[in-house]
């Protein structure tokens, strides 16, 4: 009985580099932001800290998606929904923190409710002023939705594009529902104009740094969880399911349970990502549910390398950095550049950035072993 191999396997080359980079970010970014003079080329301005934080929340979403898509073959086109739900849970907490500082000065009700003549908070808003409860909801709401949705779908053996499309239908339906003002969640405008988080101003430099560090930690933890899952026997079963679902059943594995665990964990990770995203960008609204957003998340994973975890995170960061930079630098041409990036990656890096790199490395290794094996074979003859 030994657990070491798993821990070791978890920390393979890629993983170690990844965690190392995250650790460095968590330390260096705040240091640079706080102590380097603004004129220094190494200074990270506060706005860039939040931007980085946003990329890293997206990275966590991509990681979550890769867990189900890369390792279990569930191409979810609705993961943005879990992200958005986590975001809304956090947004509701932040709204409650505004208190009487709203436009209409109502002690409890958010402005949009005052405006729509709501008399009291609807029941589903209660408790969101308490951070631990809100934090729980960040996990519970997406998790529960994933559990119910997954239980229905996996039990009925909905697979492949059929599953993809119903996840898309799910997020689409949620988008329409959240657009409705009657939902009591701010309609099209969503939730915005946040003031405090845990008593600190969301706009304060220190809060922004703390949120950034929290995101780094969440990403590292998310990576740890995902990596643990995929390197354990569980992960091998997931891959088996991806390759030959029915064969796995004939070995006695309850495929639906395996999928359900992965899907739910992944949804909760996405929820956390959304919750970290919201205070850093300052708004959550129904367009986060739009199918295009979820498809984009799939695109990040594909760019980075499906089934590599690190690649998914990297893909999210690369694509979003490119987007941030291009929308400013080439405002009228950036779609060409981004579109071209996607095409080039598919054509020349068929397994995504990380996937192709590690494949190259493995090939080199295989070449080496093949050589030695060849020698051995000759010797045997």
């Amino acid at each position: 009985m030994t657990r070491r191999p798993i821990l070791l396997a978890m920390l393979d080359g890629k993983g170690a580099i990844f965690l190392g980079v995250l650790a460095a970010l968590a330390v260096l970014v705040p240091l640079s932001n706080l102590f380097l003079p603004e004129t220094s080329p190494l200074h990270v301005p506060t706005y860039a800290v939040s931007l980085l934080g946003k990329y890293l929340s997206y990275a966590l979403l991509a990681l979550a998606l890769d867990l189900v898509w890369g390792y279990c073959g569930i191409l979810s086109l609705g993961h943005g929904a879990f992200f958005a739900l986590g975001g809304y849970a956090m947004g509701m907490y932040l709204m409650r923190q505004i208190g009487p500082r709203g436009v209409y000065g109502h002690p409890v009700l958010p402005d949009f409710m005052v405006f729509l003549n709501w008399q009291e908070l609807p029941w589903y808003w209660s408790g969101f002023d308490i951070f631990p409860l809100a934090a729980l909801m960040v996990l519970a709401v997406p998790g529960l939705l994933a559990l119910v949705f997954g239980w229905l779908a996996f039990r009925s053996r909905v697979t492949g594009v059929y599953l993809s499309i119903i996840t898309q239908a799910m997020t689409f339906a949620l988008m329409l529902a959240f657009f409705r003002n009657d939902m009591g969640l701010g309609g099209n405008n969503g939730l915005t104009d946040f003031k405090d988080i845990l008593g600190f101003s969301v706009q304060a430099q220190g809060t922004r740094l703390a949120l950034f560090v929290a995101t780094v930690i969440a990403l590292a933890l998310g990576y740890g969880v995902a990596r643990y899952m995929v390197t354990s026997t569980y992960g091998k079963v997931l891959i088996a399911i991806r390759d030959a679902e029915s064969r796995t059943r004939f070995l006695g594995y309850r495929v639906e349970h395996y999928k359900l665990v992965a899907f739910t964990v992944s949804a909760m990770m996405a929820g956390v990502a959304g919750a970290l995203y919201v205070p850093q960008v300052g708004i959550i609204n129904p367009s986060e549910f739009s199918p295009a957003n979820s498809i984009e998340a799939v695109v990040w994973v594909a760019v980075g390398g499906r089934g590599t975890l690190v690649g998914a995170a990297l893909g999210a960061v690369v694509v979003n950095m490119a987007k941030s930079w291009l929308t400013g630098a080439l405002p009228e041409l950036w779609l060409f550049a981004l579109g071209a990036l996607f095409i080039v990656v598919t054509l020349y890096l068929p397994k995504g950035i990380v996937g192709t790199l590690s494949e190259r490395r493995e090939k080199r290794k295989a070449m080496a072993t093949a050589k030695t094996a060849g020698i051995a074979a000759e010797a045997a003859e």
């Binding site: 090939k363 295989a366 074979a377």
Partner: protein
């Protein structure tokens, strides 16, 4: 007719064929024998163009076809019955057969009656989807489908696999009949030794990606071959 000249074949870094040469003549059955994983299927893949060769040359009627795409080789008369059958699962049996029309001139686009004489079971199943057939039925369909193209070279990779004894005999008779017509070269990969022995005009035994023994039926020493096929 078909000549394979000293070819190498790699899967990534791993070499599966080494300097393999083989000739197949019209009206003759050329058998390739060998244990699991020695490279028989790889050789067939090289012939039909599914896997590129890294050295050597494959010729058909004197022309070099080594670089041709699989469909161009098919159009020049190489038909293939792959290991694992590869029936088009959602096409009906009739449609599976009709895919063989592709290299034919429009006047020739019909399924020859002799095919149903060889495999009568197919006649009853024309409307059934290929994927629904039993394994043995699919194997028969795969051979029939190859024959629809009226090939010059028929490449069969373990055609008796999963077939009931009586039909194996039928297939043997069919191959014999096709050989008898004299215009078709037949390359046959087979593990079923007796079957191969009864049909072969020439044979080649493979080991570790190489041909280690070859000759004609008359010169074949059965025990040598059996030896090579033993575990």
């Amino acid at each position: 007719m078909l000549s394979v000249d000293s070819i190498d074949l790699h899967y990534g870094a791993a070499q599966a064929l080494r300097r393999v040469s083989l000739d197949a003549e019209a009206g003759k059955v050329t058998c390739v024998l060998g244990r699991n994983g020695v490279g028989k299927t790889s050789l067939m893949r090289a012939i039909v163009g599914r896997q590129p060769i890294s050295a050597g040359r494959i010729g058909l009627d004197g022309a070099d076809i080594s670089r041709l795409e699989p469909y161009d080789r098919a159009r020049r008369g190489i038909a293939f019955v792959p290991q694992g059958r590869e029936i088009f699962p959602l096409l009906s049996v009739r449609e599976n057969l009709e895919t063989g029309f592709a290299p034919l001139k429009s006047g020739d686009r019909h399924v020859p009656d002799e095919i149903f004489t060889l495999f009568p079971v197919l006649k009853d199943m024309l409307g059934r989807r290929g994927g629904d057939l039993s394994g043995g039925q699919q194997q028969q369909l795969a051979i029939a489908r190859a024959l629809v193209t009226r090939p010059k070279v028929l490449v069969l990779d373990e055609p008796t696999e999963g077939i009931q004894p009586s039909i194996i005999k039928d297939i043997g008779r069919a191959i014999d009949y096709l050989r008898g017509k004299g215009d078709m070269a037949i390359v046959l990969v087979e593990q079923f030794f007796e079957f191969a022995r009864d049909l072969c005009d020439t044979f080649a035994v493979m080991e570790r990606g190489q041909i280690v023994l070859s000759g004609t039926r008359d010169t074949m020493v059965e025990d040598d071959v059996r030896q090579r096929l033993a575990v």
